[in-house]
């Protein structure tokens, strides 16, 4: 084994630069203008004006409160739904079946999910149509403000529907820890009900593994833009979409105020995280005092049914939403209150495919590029760290999660400035680089577990035959991990496809992807076109995951041990 000499290896340095660099630069680029310093626009002295202007904006408090409450409520609700469902059903057939639904739902981009959900729950949406006019007497859509209700309920539901699959899959990965199954048995053999065993025995052990993802969800949900634009209230909007509006305003002087707003957003997300940590401590100590009281809660059928319902509801709503995207994009005319379109047409879809071609092309190039780089970097990092026998340290993990723990808007404003100076603003390369910051953490998340589970003796056996490190990597480790590597690529491509804000900010309107198009079209007039673009968003993840399933099946068709268990 080569000695490490205490020097970090190349990929560690590279990844640190890739992640921490833009974040720090972006933060600096946000903080300075927030205090009035933006020499490019001729502001070269510090002042409190941007903040004064910000706080004089009408409805600012409401906007901030909306962001805070919808984000935090959605995150906590998502976590509760996931944990209750896992507690009540882990290891059952129902659990397995729902797992099969939830994994693909994770790859549906936020914007597409939000558009589908709007089609489902709007007053003229599918649910109302189903019961109209025979049950409601409505021949015209009722005059209710959904989505866009002033309390942000629709937006919260939209966030929950998207965060539940994410947190669920994180929990699922955590349940793969050794002995979890035995701990469940141990609890039951001591007379404990399923749910009591989960909360008293299993959760305390796996919670550290799902904590960072939960924090990332909070940071994301309190600063989300695309879902807020599609489902959120409009008078006023939550903070994040308002900031984007100011940032893109032709009046350049609004940029200083927008930067000040971005700092407010950082503060807001940070306080949401703090409130969550407080709740966590409270719940933790509540649970700890109950560890040893012997209460077994063996009569749990009502609790289990209660824990299943929200999960079923989410899976059903999400599946219906995606199906509605398909129906709407094929509908020629679909007047209220008909449950299905009166006339269908393929022509519109073909037209839109043609006009959407360039944006789909850009999406593909960016997604494939960012995914390939992120996957390769992750592999490089894991191989180098494995070779240096460095275990994943908490510091490394926190660093990798850093871009996800900050609200995107907090440092994208500043980053946009740097990209502008570097001549990357509005270029495919620029957008790809910006995506990479957010794609890499997910690639690492998806691949580090399979990599660490790979039996190290394969590599040792290969090395002992005299194979070089590179040969071991390319001929042993990479083929053995072909499936997880391809899945990682697919996850990374899906994450890239779903990016809205980085594309909007760095693309500067010149790089347009299907996601930015969908969000722009969602508030427009034509439901068909909006549905079509939302559907186009699904193409990249769908292709990616199909490839990840197909290639290993073909490559290893004569290798029994390489097939998936279960």
């Amino acid at each position: 084994m080569p000695k490490t000499d205490g020097l970090p290896d190349v990929p560690t340095v590279l990844v640190t630069t890739l992640l921490a660099g833009p974040v720090l630069a972006g933060l600096a680029g946000t903080v300075l203008p927030a205090f009035g310093y933006l020499p490019v626009l001729g502001h070269d002295s510090f002042s409190g004006d941007p903040f004064r202007k910000l706080f004089s904006m009408p409805g600012l408090t409401t906007s901030a409160a909306l962001s805070f409450s919808t984000g935090l409520a959605a995150s906590v609700a998502s976590l509760a739904i996931v944990l209750l469902f896992t507690a009540g059903w882990a290891g059952t057939d129902t659990f397995r079946r729902l797992t099969r639904f939830l994994s693909p739902l994770l790859s549906v981009p936020h914007a597409a999910a939000a558009i589908g959900l709007a089609f489902l729950i709007a007053p003229s949406g599918f649910l109302v149509r189903l019961i109209s006019p025979w049950a409601t007497g409505w021949t015209r859509p009722p005059d209710i403000l959904i989505p866009g209700d002033p309390y942000g309920l629709a937006m919260t539901v939209g966030l929950v529907a998207k965060e539940v699959p994410f947190l669920f899959l994180m929990t699922l990965a955590a349940l793969n820890r050794p002995h979890v199954q035995e701990y469940l048995k141990a609890g039951a053999s001591l007379g404990y009900g399923r749910m009591a065993t989960f909360f008293k025995v299993v959760l305390p052990q796996i919670y550290p593994l799902i904590r960072l993802p939960v924090l990332a969800v909070i940071a994301y949900a309190t600063s989300v833009v695309d879902v807020a634009v599609i489902l959120g209230p409009t008078t006023p909007q939550p903070l994040a979409p308002r900031l984007v509006g100011w940032m893109n305003d032709p009046d350049l002087s609004l940029r200083l105020m927008a930067s000040a707003g971005a700092l407010l957003q950082l503060l807001l997300s940070a306080s949401a995280l703090l409130v969550y940590l407080l709740l966590e401590t409270l719940a933790g100590s509540c649970l700890r005092t109950r560890f040893s009281n012997g209460r077994r809660h063996p009569r749990e059928t009502p609790g289990r049914v209660f824990s299943l319902l929200p999960m079923l509801l989410i899976v059903a709503a999400m599946s219906l939403s995606v199906a509605l995207l398909g129906v709407w994009s094929l509908a020629k005319s679909w007047w209220f209150p008909a449950s299905l379109p009166q006339a269908w047409s393929l022509g519109r879809m073909l037209d839109a495919l043609k006009s959407g071609g360039p944006s789909l092309g850009a999406t593909l190039v960016i997604a494939c590029g960012a995914a390939a780089i992120a996957t390769a970097l992750t592999l490089w990092l894991l191989e180098a760290r494995g070779n240096a026998r460095r275990r994943e340290t908490g510091r490394m993990k926190a660093l990798i999660f850093l871009p996800l723990l900050l609200p995107q808007i907090g440092f994208l404003f500043g980053l946009q400035m740097f990209f502008l100076l570097a001549g990357l603003s509005g270029t495919l390369t620029g957008v790809l680089l910006a995506h990479l910051i957010f794609v890499f953490p997910y690639a690492f998340l998806a691949l580090s577990d399979p990599w660490n589970r790979l039996d190290p003796r394969y590599a040792k056996a290969a090395r002992s035959t005299g194979a070089s490190r590179a040969r071991v990597f390319f001929q042993i480790q990479l083929p053995l991990l072909l499936r997880p590597v391809l899945v990682t690529f697919a996850v990374a491509a899906a994450v890239s496809t779903g990016q809205y804000l980085p594309t909007l900010m760095i693309g500067a309107g010149r790089v347009v992807t299907v996601t930015t198009e969908s969000v722009a079209l969602a508030s427009g007039g034509s439901r068909q076109i909006a549905a079509l673009y939302a559907l186009l968003q699904l193409i990249v993840p769908l292709a990616g995951f199909s490839l990840a399933a197909l290639v290993p099946a073909l490559a290893f068709r004569n290798r029994a041990a390489m097939r998936l268990e279960r």
Partner: protein, 226 residues
């Protein structure tokens, strides 16, 4: 109602376990209170599935016929937590987020309500296996033998009516092994618990003193009658 409904002890009545339609093992026997039935077999012979069947954890791919009765009560359709069967695993499986004492208090029935009483009972259980004063310790700092002893007391404090042992001594070295094994069988005898032991170690079988049955790997229809 057959005669086994009135018999004390653990009765396995015409139990057949199948995997994918193929019979893995069948067994028909009765374990009296305080006695041990040892089942020997290589991995893959179905011995773990038998334990899973009795304890209520049989995986959905397995199909089982027959009944398991404990002191006349049919367990077959009961959920695992209602079966009153104590289980010891290959590893001690102490809960790593709790202290040694909390592990034991976890097992005490909730009918004992006062915290002080619960602590006293748990301390006494520790003292019973020669571990007085270990209550505050992190289970991870205990030796393998000490952990197994704590695991044994955790199992017994839940007041089970039968014990299932899934090679619980396999993680111990030779000298500790005999010692811990004696302790387990001794306590089970004192409490009058029927014990079903699964092992592939001849010494375990000899020390258990009861009947021994051997399963052969992959052989269809491992028939046992006793």
């Amino acid at each position: 109602m057959s005669s086994s409904d009135r018999i004390s002890g653990l009765v396995l009545e015409n139990v057949v376990i199948r995997l994918g339609g193929l019979p893995l093992l069948d067994i028909d026997c009765r374990i009296l209170p305080g006695s041990v039935l040892t089942i020997m077999g290589e991995s893959g012979s179905g011995k773990s599935s038998l334990l899973d069947f009795v304890a209520g954890f049989l995986k959905p791919d397995f199909r089982a016929e027959g009944r398991a009765l404990l002191n006349g009560r049919d367990l077959t359709s009961l959920p695992a937590q209602d079966r009153q069967i104590g289980l010891m695993f290959q590893s001690p499986l102490l809960f790593p987020h709790m202290s040694v004492l909390q592990n034991l208090m976890f097992a005490l029935p909730a009918t004992c309500r006062r915290r002080q009483d619960r602590q006293d009972l748990a301390e006494r259980a520790l003292a019973d296996v020669g571990l007085a004063g270990f209550g505050k310790r992190d289970p991870a700092t205990l030796s393998g033998g000490q952990q197994t002893r704590v695991a044994l007391m955790r199992t017994l404090l839940a007041e089970p009516k039968a014990l299932l042992l899934d090679e619980p001594f396999s993680s111990l070295d030779r000298t500790r092994r005999a010692e811990v094994r004696e302790l387990v069988f001794d306590l089970a005898r004192k409490k009058g618990l029927p014990v079903l032991l699964v092992s592939h170690d001849e010494e375990d079988a000899r020390a258990a003193g009861g009947e021994v049955h051997r399963l052969e790997a992959g052989k269809a229809g491992n028939g046992l009658d006793c």
